[in-house]
Symmetry: C2
Subunit: 500 residues, 2 copies
């Protein structure tokens, strides 16, 4: 059995316990791992490391670089024990997030497409150790990744040493789902030859120098995936606004009947919005996206999907079970690429991707905050939203018009952090309505966003801000800097933006 | 003589006075013109239109779309008479700017690489009329543009009618400098086959449907170019920091000896910084940029340049004279492309462009404002800075640490407008020093920017803000939203950020 997954006598000599392997991790190291939101990340070695540090009480802190978020076995267990000193480029773990916001972890929030270039060009220093999950490793010099590709090709190339976790919970039928194509560093880069989302341009495996492999650990721990929030009425409304908008774009000739490839961000809102396509008339959809969530499997099941290109399969526990059960079907419909390719500006721009991403808050001029609460606390990170929004054909952002049971308006006078500027946001959708900002000046944008997207309780307050600013100064972008964060200040003081 | 420039009897029948041609312009039209910062824009017809409206007192207002900024004959003369109702995507004219900030003109500030796609895909509505400067038009169905290409290929294709201004001040020796390659709309886009900045991939002329040409006007008015501000001591310091930084990157293996292609933004600071290469050891430089300013000609003169790819030649009056005089030499070194190609994310990312752009202000976390004063008044527009910064290999921003004779700190706690987010800014350079932000968390960025880049008068105030914010809340990005615009509020009240 294990011979099928670890091919070659010399490699099998490197079989080790997780505990032994964990001793390759030393204080001060820069460590890169596989894993993307949270799929295909190493589990056994980080758990062993956490246990060891817990028991030994040694001082050990590392820089941890992953594709995107990873499971609790890695971000959670290591954060709890202060093992992570610096973390990049994205996370979704409660402990890790708290450590970031409490100042224990220095978090670097990067565009996911930039990370492989940063690694390959040495911007982040030497990678001391890569820890990667695989379903197979061969003496011939390759590994086959599991449910995500992420930055694995970059880190196994750049790292000094490698630990491989062979995960037997990941079925061998995943073979063939991956398409590994690596971009050279400039000045040797060539065009990435993807012209359709369905184009396969690379290999089924990741090349690896087996001499760098110091330990191989076997595990059967499953991806620690999380359920999605249930779909609510607001999600359905937002999905309907999107569908109607896309139909209109087709009618006026700005989109073809089968649309251009869709991208949808990580999380419950994006997952819910995609569900809206299930009952639509759209057929034969292409996805050129980053994560493949449950709703995409559902769309495949009802025959709506031509192809899905992404870098990770990120499902709920039930979704993962379904995925494994029907893997042969899904394997034909899904392509997993390195995140440098899934999120590459070149391909996104060429294909005319329709980018569907989620905002934490939007301001009345269309600047989007997708990372910070009150301008100071990190939620997850920008992830791939910037890669897609910036270079897409259409950049759409979704948010419910309020958060925390209506206490917080997600439409504010001035975004407390800007991750996507007014230049990168074409359309905003809330459950209240849709603001199509293309070709609008700041004043036109403000009226459209306030009137169409804001919550009825906060609408008069936003309009009051806008009108007062317009009266106070003749200007291009009416603002009262003294009161720009008034909404946030009230929230800070009272735990709510509602002041009555 | 005119036969050499207007090739074909049928075309010569379309010769018209500027006044007659101006009558093709009707109230409410969407008009696209050639021209880019301010080169190669139509001069005669706009002047005639302004004169006509002045005399007739008629109500005539249009939407004006150009490649980037244009000369006073267009933006100035039409703004003065309230003929422009909506303007996009960039301008640098005093009258136009005042009209925008006084609320007479709705200005839409767009990434320059997005504009051709917006036009070609109908996001801005039908283009009623194109007015384009050319050095030659032929019945065979083409025009040869002059000192810029910009959006001309897109607007002559999309416009219902076309007016051509044949400008005899633009020498015929410009023929061959242009490289016209047009990107198809998705889903038919293919890779743009540029692998080196020097690659020529298209034609020497712009295809045109001559049946749409309604009038041809002849003029000899020169591009109304402007002098650059004199180079000051701070510019020299900033140039030196850049040169030293690049040398260091070469030393540690992150850049090759001849660098990657350089881009430099519009204006005096970028022009001055490039002068710094003149006395450096760098040789054989490639430019993949947008505008070609005086300093690049100087670098060609001293033999430092291999090739310059851009979309416009934007020179001082003396620079323009020199350019015309040595046109044969410069023609070999310069390629002018449509702005969809010069600013295309695909090519910028592939070539690994080093982007050198100018900031109006930067905040302590590395967010850059390149468009607004006090968050409300437009300066020029984002131009191509976002196209380059976002997709570059290295994104560098320059600003002197103070403005208005030291009254204003360009380093502030919170940028009053964000055009480039922390995710898109690698390096900040002022005359005080350099902050290399790669791989730094927000707190590390703040210390680096305050200590290295801020002005000594404002440094303690910035440090005080940062420290107070750090003490007030444990957080990822220390901010005090109540005081975030404190610097700006003082400026607003006292005309200076200095409070003693």
């Amino acid at each position: 059995m294990i011979q099928d997954r670890i091919k070659g006598e010399n490699l099998r000599k490197k079989l080790a316990t997780a505990e032994d392997a964990s001793h390759l991790i030393k204080d001060g190291m820069i460590i890169g791992t596989s894993g993307f939101t949270p799929s295909g990340y190493p589990k056994e070695v980080p758990l062993a490391l956490a246990k060891r540090v817990e028991e030994s009480n040694e001082n050990l802190s590392i820089t941890l670089i992953t594709g995107a978020s990873v499971g609790d076995e890695l971000d959670g267990e290591l954060s709890k024990r202060n093992i992570i000193k610096k973390r990049l480029p994205y996370q979704t773990n409660n402990y890790c997030r708290d450590s970031i916001n409490n100042g224990y972890i220095d978090f670097v929030d990067l565009h996911l497409s930039h990370l492989p270039q940063y690694i390959n060009c040495g911007f982040l220093g030497k990678i001391d150790l890569a820890i990667v999950e695989a379903i197979e490793i061969s003496e011939e010099g390759y590994i086959v990744p599991s449910t995500s590709v992420g930055i694995t090709p970059a880190i196994v190339r750049q790292a000094e040493k490698i630990i491989v976790e062979i995960n037997t919970s990941q079925p061998m039928d995943l073979i063939g789902i991956h398409d590994i194509y690596e971009v050279k560093n400039p000045p040797y880069r060539e065009p990435i030859p993807i012209i359709k989302a369905s184009d396969r341009i690379g290999h089924k495996y990741i090349p690896i120098d087996v001499n760098k492999v110091e330990a191989i650990v076997v595990t059967d721990k499953k991806d620690n995936v999380r359920p999605f929030n249930p779909i609510n009425e607001n999600h359905i409304k937002m999905a309907n606004y999107l569908i109607e908008f896309l139909k209109h774009e087709i009618k006026v000739g700005r989109l073809p009947k089968k649309l251009f490839p869709l991208q949808a961000g990580v999380g419950s809102v994006a997952n819910a919005v995609l569900q809206g396509f299930k009952n639509s008339n759209f057929e034969n959809l292409d996805f050129y996206t980053e994560v493949i969530q449950d709703s995409i499997l559902d769309l495949i099941d009802v025959g709506k999907v031509n192809i899905v290109s992404g870098t990770s399969v990120t499902l709920s526990p039930e979704g993962l079970e379904k995925f494994y059960k029907n893997l042969k079907l899904y394997n034909e419909k899904i392509i997993l690429r390195p995140q440098e390719i899934s999120n590459n500006p070149e391909v996104i721009r060429r294909l005319g991707v329709i980018a569907l991403n989620t905002a934490v808050e939007v301001d009345i001029f269309g600047n989007v905050n997708s990372t910070h609460i009150l301008g100071r606390n990190m939620v997850n990170g920008i992830g791939g939203s910037g890669d897609f929004a910036r270079n897409s054909y259409l950049s759409v952002f979704f948010t419910e018009s309020t958060a925390k049971n209506g206490k917080i308006s997600t439409v504010v006078p001035f975004a407390s952090h800007v991750d996507h500027t007014e230049h990168d946001v074409d359309v905003i959708i809330t459950e209240e309505g849709i603001a199509d900002l293309r070709g609008l000046s700041p004043k036109e944008r403000a009226l459209s966003i306030i009137n169409n997207c804001s919550n009825s309780y906060f609408r008069p307050l936003l309009m009051d801000y806008y009108k007062t600013a317009t009266k106070a100064y003749k200007s291009h972008t009416p603002h009262l800097l003294k009161e720009a964060f008034y909404f946030h200040e009230i929230l800070d003081k009272h735990g709510s933006m509602r002041i009555n």
